[in-house]
Symmetry: C4
Subunit: 249 residues, 4 copies
């Protein structure tokens, strides 16, 4: 969400809708999990769950349009929120909507913030679990009914998600439908980003150790300068004294 | 392209030919996609597309020779443009020419430059998409007619490209021909570089946060030194005053 | 283990129990390896090994409870020692207990410490070997009796561990049981962390080279300031001299 | 090779033997490639090649023993040259000797050194190609005669090497013998290190850009201090002047 001061109305809207949308997102995930995993659901329940998923989609679509309406620089908004657009504009790729859940973590993150790296750790850990759960649901939903499918149970789907997000990819399970492959693509991007963040955090930790040593050199330079300043101040006091030595002269 | 001030004529040529060559590269990709995907093309269309691809190759070859002619330090030029040489010298590996498209992004990049990391993000994202599209075309072209091939449709080719560039590698699809494997090799190098850039950008982001804190320590040292300098200046003014106290003496 | 000064009693306990627990962990690994690999063991031996493994588990469980009892901020302790909780609370997932061995390296590491990167290298190398050995044992134990298993000998298990921790994942061997997949999950997380640490160490090495150059600039600034200070000191001595020039006046 | 000033004799020996050993290593690789790929060789040729490989191994073993004899701190030498020990002590794992070739790049690297990152790029690129070539030879040699082997031609071996070092791992080709798997293990370690170096170089490049900005702040602090020093020098000159104003007094 843009923190741009130019977009005050947009930011206000986003701040106000953050919590309700987060709640909606959680409700969406629960309903989606119920629909995908509840194979024994009556058709009536399935129908109501479907309606509910479409209603949530509709709310997110309205939210996107309102934000677009509030944004001063429309094209810039579209350019910076391409993922939101994809999520809203492709309702037929129902599976991808599960990834909307990532927004949940924007809230969690705000609460747990204790140092930059700690924050990132919580964010990455939580987002990875949530994305993995959503992706497993989505890929199961997409694959289950394909005759060539290798992913036919939720256990298989979770296992496939794990092998994919870690980029191991044994190939004992893999999606064969187009929808399943789109989910896989999103998950792989997530896996690469995950690797990048883990590496980045570790590398920055090492660099910080080094930077800490350097900062202490810096600090010693500063204390040197301060000592110098005190000496000059002393010198000045001495020079502007009424010079008692010369008085008897 | 070398920005070396010693190679003024070479740089001028490269600046002048950048746009026409970019246009040619796009035309090349379009024609190549048409040739590979248009299975219902008449032989006549296929023949003209083939001619066009060879003409574009010829233009790139001429461009390479002209640049080699303009370069003052020939061997250095060859050493620094090995990829260009490979692209030009191996016309029989027709598939690799698709990767020439990366040059397109040199232009796009120049336009969108807004901060180092933003630039890199756009470049990497765009180049990845373009390379993936070109690689999918090339591998399909190479594999399609092999009896043992597992990549026989453009959908399969795109899916294979995705599993390869992310280094997941399920193994449900893989190239079996030598040409297809060369394309795969180029793609894997791209995948490793992609991982490296993503990680590098994230790591540098963390490091910058730390460096920012350090820069503020630095800035306080500088302001300390400036304060000191002002004090000295004051002291000097005082010393060089006509000393009114001593006048009545 | 928390080094928090607020948790003095907890730290004292952890310091005192470190060595005995490390010894227990090694004994646990030896017994576990004996149980898994000793297919010709008599039922009596297997029974005693099983008892021993449960006894060690019991000691670790008691250790966890004591530490929880000593901690002042209970929830914080639970939150920061989630892995310990998982290891203690899931005795039915017997395989994961093998990963408890990582604690061994806390001790080894303390001894070999010679520079930050050296330490990390020893730690990562040692921990990787130990985790790989434990994971191979655990996955063999889990898979061996499954009719669809592809991992049926210790050699296969070691090979599978290698392909997994490096994230290569050929897919010629892969776990099919839930327990085996949990081991795989732990191993993949280890593989990602391993990649992250290797990259982080290398990146920090490059950054240090650069930081070193910068530190020398810094050092020259400091020597400049010191020279300045000496000059001021000289100036002050001159000013406070009894001024011999004015004496004859 | 240790550059330790304490080990002057060891360093001298290493400097003197560097070139001859590099030549031997190249000769070893050529003979090894001839032996592995030359399936039509007469038994006599194969026998002479075998003798030659054993002679080279013997020279390397003697070199190791001489260096051990020259080293003052024997255990430290063994600890820091574990890889050399593995290569010398395991002649029955003939395939691993091919990796001895990495030493060749120590020489190449010394010549091409132009900036830290450039050096690393050349080293990594060259070493990767050499290790990949050696590994492909070694795995082919190990697998070729196994009835379950999937790697039976040099083309397959090269392709397998590529999929392994990039950690893609399709699984269409994989080693099944113990020797082949040892080669794979060495290659995977190489793949992880490769990823690490690529990422490290890119990350350090970004960090350097930032460090560069910081260094310019630093430089401005320094010039500030220098200006201050000049001002003080001026002040001193003024104070120690014969004071013409007081002369008429």
């Amino acid at each position: 969400m843009s923190k741009n001061p130019d977009e005050a109305r947009l930011s206000a809207w986003e701040a106000r809708t953050e919590w309700p949308l987060t709640g909606l997102a959680v409700a969406f995930l629960v309903a989606y999990a119920w629909q995908v995993l509840g194979t024994a659901n009556s058709p009536r329940v399935q129908w109501w769950l479907e309606v509910w998923l479409w209603v949530v989609w509709g709310v997110f679509a309205v939210d996107y349009l309102v934000r677009l309406g509030l944004a001063k620089r429309k094209w810039r908004f579209v350019g910076r929120h391409l993922f939101d657009l994809v999520v809203v504009a492709l309702p037929m790729v129902r599976q991808l909507r599960a990834l909307r859940l990532v927004t949940v973590f924007k809230v969690i993150n705000r609460r747990l913030g204790s140092g930059l790296r700690g924050q990132v750790g919580v964010y990455v850990g939580g987002a990875t679990l949530m994305v993995a759960f959503g992706a497993a649901l989505a890929v199961l939903d997409a694959e289950r009914n394909d005759p060539n499918a290798t992913i036919t149970s939720f256990g298989d789907a979770l296992w496939w998600t794990l092998t994919t997000i870690s980029t191991v990819g044994y190939g004992d399970r893999y999606p064969v439908t187009t929808e399943g492959r789109l989910v896989a693509g999103a998950l792989m991007v997530g896996g690469i980003a995950l690797l990048g963040v883990v590496t980045g955090v570790i590398a920055s930790w090492f660099v910080e150790k080094i930077a800490g040593a350097e900062a202490s050199i810096e600090a010693s330079t500063r204390s040197e300068v301060q000592a110098l300043r005190e000496e000059i101040a002393l010198l000045r006091v001495e020079l502007t004294r009424p010079e008692p030595d010369s008085a008897p002269r």
